[in-house]
């Protein structure tokens, strides 16, 4: 056994890609919650323009989260 068996380049790629994916999914979902909740609050308070801005934010976050799910399913299917 030796450290020559370790592909350091691939390992480095794994670390940054894993970190980016993991944190990215969490940020996207938290932003989706923020957008959705704030949009509902502002709509109740009759602030339609602010509510619309939060709806856009929620939609972008939802798109990013859904995209990560679709990518995940694609990885599973193509494995």
């Amino acid at each position: 056994m030796s450290t020559a068996a370790i592909d350091w380049g691939q390992l480095f790629e794994l670390v940054w890609a894993g970190a980016l994916a993991g944190v990215g999914v969490s940020v996207a979902f938290a932003t989706l919650i923020l957008g959705g909740t704030r949009a509902a609050d502002h709509r109740r308070a009759n602030r339609a323009r602010v509510a619309s801005a939060y709806i856009v934010l929620a939609a972008v976050a939802a798109f990013a989260f859904a995209g990560s799910v679709v990518f995940g399913v694609w990885v599973i299917v193509s494995k």
Partner: protein, 367 residues
Amino acid sequence: MSSDVILVIVVATALAFDFTNGFHDTANAIATSVSTRAMSPRFAVLLSAVLNFAGAFISLKVAATVGQGIVESDAVTTTVVFAGLVGAIAWNLATWYFGLPSSSSHALIGGLVGAAFAASGASAIQGDGLVEKVIVPGVVAPILAFTVAGIAILVAYRIVGRLRPGPVNRAYRLGQLVSASMFSLAHGTNDAQKTMGIITLALIAHGDLPSNSFDVPTWVIVSSAAAISLGTYTGGWRIIRTVGSRIIKMDPAQGFSAQGSGAAVILAASHLGYPLSTTHVISGGVMGAGAATRLSAVRWGVAGNIAIAWVLTLPAAALIGAFAYGVSSIFGSGALGPLVVSLSILGVVLAFFGRRVARGQVLTADA
């Protein structure tokens, strides 16, 4: 006649391993969801079992790679495979009994390595393959998951920290439904294929399938899918309790951060051709999600026991695999050895679980 009996024993043992793999790894997919009440325990195991079953039909690429690059192919006989499976099953049952999450895949590799070592000596083991496929991912997975889940929960708290907790918790519970489903589907696709691969190898060695191609028969796919999903539905409640509530007491945001970011890490790694253990990732993620908020939130004694189990998985399964091979070979190269070993194990398991069921101490969804 003798080789027919060995084949039947190997197929039955492989399906038994598949079953233990299912119930041992249920915790990876559902423990955080059950703990945060995102799903009821019964619904969680049902959803996970269905997706494990479906996942087993998606791909067959992993099946052709079982043991490749770790054990020399000419050292792999049906008796070696049988003894390796015994090592993996025994380690899965032992860690389940103590409620410790450990990698079923590493246990299987350990069992095969031990049995091959006992059969053909050190030359049968490819050390570099062990480093590349078991030891490095075994070290990287929990550290990466710990760090990523820790950062993820801190960022999430920053974003949603000032919102009303009711809608936030409800949303995170919904998110856990998605992340648990992804975990289950990935598990069914990956782990059921290992059993399919083992059974197919045994059928090729027996001469029932041509050796120049690797076509998995339909009955092998269906039976492997059924065994892993049945095991998942049975639920390894001891391990579910450890991962879900004994490492940290988690809120829905922590549960999602551990599981959602864990699923993302596993799938990103898988895309890069680096298979990480779901057990190592989810356990590391749960610890990271707890430690990021407060170091003392993690029960480090429990975490330490889990780490010890991970370190011991490969050597312990190898020792048992080697022992099983040694006992089998006492009775010659025929079917008698595997028959004696499998009947002995069945007797011990039935005696142990029969007594526990009679005493009513087996953990269930309601326990």
